[in-house]
């Protein structure tokens, strides 16, 4: 057995070196990366994933897999919220019950796998749907639990003496799993089963009973993670824990655990977890300008790209060393071989790091050229659009007091976050923001989540707090959840704005209002009713069942319908996951199932063209689409009369105004009590309380849509 341990410690040595490379790289790239506070933030944000990864290690060592953990975490989180808020169960009991639910979820997996002998991948693929489905079902997707009791927040997410509670929890869990896997007979048995279930049976192990243990533990850990998450973000809904299963598997495999089972290391999992998390954090913190580059940030997508490259390199190396090792056994010069192996690995890792740096250099140069090109293009576009709208007089009156922005004496750093990067809606916002930031001479950091994990926005805000930005401007994906992080930013003296979607009022200084949820909801309903002549039935295609904004709009759509259009009925709501082809399928099914539906209200930007294409292909001329979307992708349908109205605001102006307001907020010209804001090319805009008003939502139709290009 000593050889196997050697292979493990080798993998760990490699990972430890990787961590050092990351630390050095990001220490050079960022002034605030190597600070205790930043590491504590990373730790705080990694514990919930860490627990799941630890349990996943014990699952994978048996040769199994558990894809349902993220969904189960979501289910436990909403059950905890439901019990506490709606059933008025005291929170400690609710937390206990949530853990019981986690256990039951684990037992269901374990039963189907160990007793019914169904393959773990199949079982957990089914429960992956089942658990998330129950969470969505009981909350109707939208139900949001927040403002948990202080005592709960303190117990599961407190930071006594700035040490997050997650630290002792994680240390305890690591110790417990280490003892279980590496120092107990159960651990040995799990490992043996992973090598050979039949061999384990002949060795006298009760395979059926032993194999159940990791899945039950996995369920329990999912529930504890859910509680840690609930306390950290102070908000849960049915989307908690999305993508956690893949992140956990990545950490486990990167740590050196064999995906085929048998060989596992808990320390490796911890190292793998932090290698990934520090990489993510470092990429958010990195400021390439320190090395003389002209940009202040790296693309957020690099985190995923680098992680998967590391994963390939790590398993490739692991595989190589184990091959070499088996040769070494024959040569018997084991020690010498090992030293040279380590030397070779060090060289390879350093080379890999250099490649990453070199790659970044090329990529960054690419970005810089690109965004410079875009800016010029935008400036022309923006004015053209504004001019045309002004010409036909229907959009907004000519901006009074419009002026060019002047460079400021003390440039500031603005952290501006969309709900997600790589979304065309926000790209248009970014164009406007870049235009304003360039004119003012400010540094604009544009960073946001790349996936659908709802906790990611909080992490980025916390990174910005550590990085020390002047103003944070957020489009809130989860109003209550993001508010927890924004309050902390304000407490640290950072000015906070929200734009596009507001957070809770006490969590920000001002909000940029392009349209209130009520305004959007009633505008959609009014336009729909106009097309429907005030009678008949319609269906809604939304983004996802848990999308916060869409759920808010639907509330006001229904309110407006009930108040003004009693002869109109809403038949069904279908999600399209922001995918045009799924929106098409859903619209098609709606048309076939509800022949009396005369209108589809598409409230996700992907849903409008998707639904319109379905209507077009059905050949029905009596059905129309109204929705919230970007002008460019809807032009053909608007012109063909399928989509009589698309509602939106000028998204470029929204980004532009956000940056202008950030500067004004920092300068002190935008302060409580202000009634107007000088907004460069947008002129003097009204400030109402803590709302900076961009203007009303705008209706694109056949006559005006050609004047817009975004």
């Amino acid at each position: 057995m000593p050889i196997r341990l050697d292979a493990k410690s080798l993998q760990q040595a490699v990972l430890a070196q990787l961590l050092i490379v990351e630390l050095v790289l990001f220490a050079v790239l960022s002034g605030s990366f190597l600070k205790v506070g930043n590491f504590l933030t990373v730790l705080r944000n990694s514990a919930d994933l860490g627990l799941i990864a630890l349990a996943m290690t014990t699952v994978i060592v048996t040769g199994g897999i558990d894809l349902s953990v993220g969904s189960l975490m979501g289910l436990c989180a909403v059950m905890f919220g439901k019990l506490w808020r709606d059933a008025h169960v005291p929170w400690p009991i609710a937390a206990l019950l949530a853990m019981v639910i986690g256990l039951v979820g684990g037992v269901i997996n374990a039963g189907a796998i160990a007793r019914l002998k169904i393959h773990p991948l199949i079982v957990t693929l089914a429960t992956f749907s089942l658990y998330r489905g129950i969470a969505e079902g009981i909350t109707g997707g939208a139900d949001n639990f927040t403002h948990f009791p202080q005592s709960f927040l303190a117990v599961f997410g407190g930071q006594p003496a700035r040490i997050p509670i997650q630290l002792p929890v994680l240390i305890l869990a690591v110790a417990a799993f280490y003892l279980l896997l590496h120092r107990s007979t159960i651990g040995r048995a799990l490992s043996t089963i992973g090598y050979s279930p039949d061999g384990a049976r002949y060795a006298g192990i009760n395979v059926e009973r032993t194999v159940a243990i990791p899945y039950i533990l996995s369920g329990l850990m999912a529930s504890i993670s859910a509680l840690l998450y609930a306390a950290r973000v102070d908000q849960v809904k049915a989307d908690v824990g999305i993508d956690y299963e893949l992140a956990a598997i990545t950490a486990v495999v990167l740590g050196g655990t064999s995906i085929f089972g048998g060989r596992a290391t808990i320390i490796g999992t911890v190292l793998g977890l932090f290698a990934i998390r520090l990489l993510e954090n470092g990429l958010h913190m990195a400021d390439p300008a320190r090395l003389g580059f002209s940009t202040h940030q790296l693309a957020p997508q690099l985190a995923g790209i680098a992680t998967s490259a590391l994963l390939l390199v790590a398993i490739g190396l692991d595989h190589r060393t184990r091959k070499v090792r088996s040769v070494a056994r024959i040569v018997t010069q084991e020690l010498d071989m090992k030293n040279s192996q380590i030397a070779v690995l060090c060289a390879v890792i350093l080379a890999a790091a250099l490649i990453v740096v070199g790659g970044n250099f090329v990529l960054i140069n690419g970005i810089t050229k690109n965004s410079a090109g875009q800016t010029v293009h935008v400036a022309i576009d923006g004015t053209a659009a504004a001019a045309r709208v002004t010409d036909d007089g229907s959009a907004k009156s000519a901006a009074p007091g419009a002026s060019a922005l002047a460079r400021v004496a003390h440039p500031i750093t603005i952290g501006m976050m969309p709900k997600s990067v790589g979304n065309p809606y926000f790209i248009a916002c970014k164009k406007g923001a870049v235009e304003a930031a360039d004119a003012l001479g400010d540094t604009l950091l544009w960073d946001g989540p790349t996936g659908s994990d709802p906790g990611k926005q909080n992490e980025i805000v916390e990174t910005w707090i550590n990085r020390g930005v002047d103003v944070i401007a957020v489009s809130a994906d989860n109003a209550a959840g993001i508010s927890t992080a924004l309050r902390e930013a304000r407490a640290r003296g950072i000015k906070v704005l929200t734009w596009d979607a507001d957070a809770e009022p006490d969590a920000r200084d001002f909000t940029i209002v392009q349209a209130t949820p009520e305004g959007i909801g009633s505008a959609l309903m009014d336009n729909a009713a106009k097309v429907m002549d005030g009678k008949g039935s319609f269906a809604i295609i939304t983004a996802s069942l848990t999308a916060a904004n869409q759920n808010e709009w639907m509330k006001f759509i229904e309110k407006q319908r009930a108040a003004k259009y009693p002869d109109i009925q809403m038949k069904v709501v279908r999600p399209c996951d922001d995918q045009k082809d799924k929106a098409y399928s859903e619209a098609n099914a709606i048309l076939n199932s509800f022949p009396d539906v005369k209108l589809i209200l598409a409230i996700s930007s992907a849903a409008v063209p998707g639904a319109a294409e379905a209507v077009k292909q059905s050949g029905r001329t009596d059905v129309h689409v109204v929705g919230l979307g970007l002008p460019n992708e809807n032009k053909p349908y608007v012109k063909a009369g399928i989509t009589p109205a698309v509602i939106l605001w000028n998204t470029m102006d929204l980004g532009y105004l956000t940056v202008v307001a950030s500067q004004a907020l920092k300068d002190g010209t935008l302060k409580p009590g202000a009634t107007s804001l000088d907004s460069g090319k947008l002129g003097k805009l009204k400030v109402d309380g803590s709302n900076v008003m961009l203007g009303m939502p705008f209706v694109f139709n056949k006559d005006n849509i050609d004047g817009f290009d975004f």
Partner: protein, 316 residues
Amino acid sequence: MMSTLYKHRRQLSVGAVYLAMLGLLAVLRPDFFHKQFLGVFIESAPVLICAVGMTWVILARQIDISIGSQFSVCGVLAGVAAQMHAPMVVVVIVALLAGGLFGAVNGFLVGFVELPSIVVTLAMMVLLRESLSWIRQGEEVNQLPDYFQWFGSTQQIGQWIILIVAVLIWMKFFFASRYSTAGRSVFAVGSDFEAARLAGLRPRHVTFAVFVLMGILTGVAALLNAIRFPSVDVKFGTGVELKVIAAVVIGGTAISGGRGSFIGSLLGVLLLGTIGSMLLFLASNHPGATYWERAVQGIIILAAVATDALERKRPA
């Protein structure tokens, strides 16, 4: 007789669940068969094509979770080619070539470097997805020439082309799985790698080949999905890997390799493709039913595979 039934119990149970669903619809909502039935087939065609590839991959005791990202990238590349006014033949070649290339990278790392396929394709999935998001920034490929949608023909003909291509591909590989040497060698490699090698096969080459095939078929599926629309969205195909893997394993192909059937995969695709619209038709008076759809889907999958429990009681 009993043993034949037992051998095909998964296909039978999945088929029974599918027929039960159709029966329920026939009684309660016969209008389902008016248009939606065919609609489900057309929408399932790209999934079926991917499922054919995935059946080979899983038969060879591997897995490929990168096909969702491959699907998106192939579709977008085809769109970009069309946007540059490349002739349709070139567009088709671009999609197939891109898929084949991704498959070859996966196949090389899994087959010749001998890395675990789930890790390789997990990395590939994230790599392709994030790169695409970075390069396109979420922007669709639009203003495509007229010959792109439905290959420039009518909607009616285009839909039939999609269906026929999918059925032909399925039939080709259904027969290949039973009667061709190449097909049987995949079964051999999936059952026992070492034995297959000793029997004179080249298991590494076989592994490489199934991944290349998977990639090419993903390219075909992406293309057939894209030509239904006048523009190509960067999110086409997101999450298709889960649907495809679920369909194949529900259909009775063993994750442990060497055992499985193309009929099962076809039934799996149809079952999963029908659940959503079935619920929409049956619960049309209950707008809230949408929110339980995923839970019902999970239960139906569990019910369809529960016959595996019989395995313990009867020796195979």
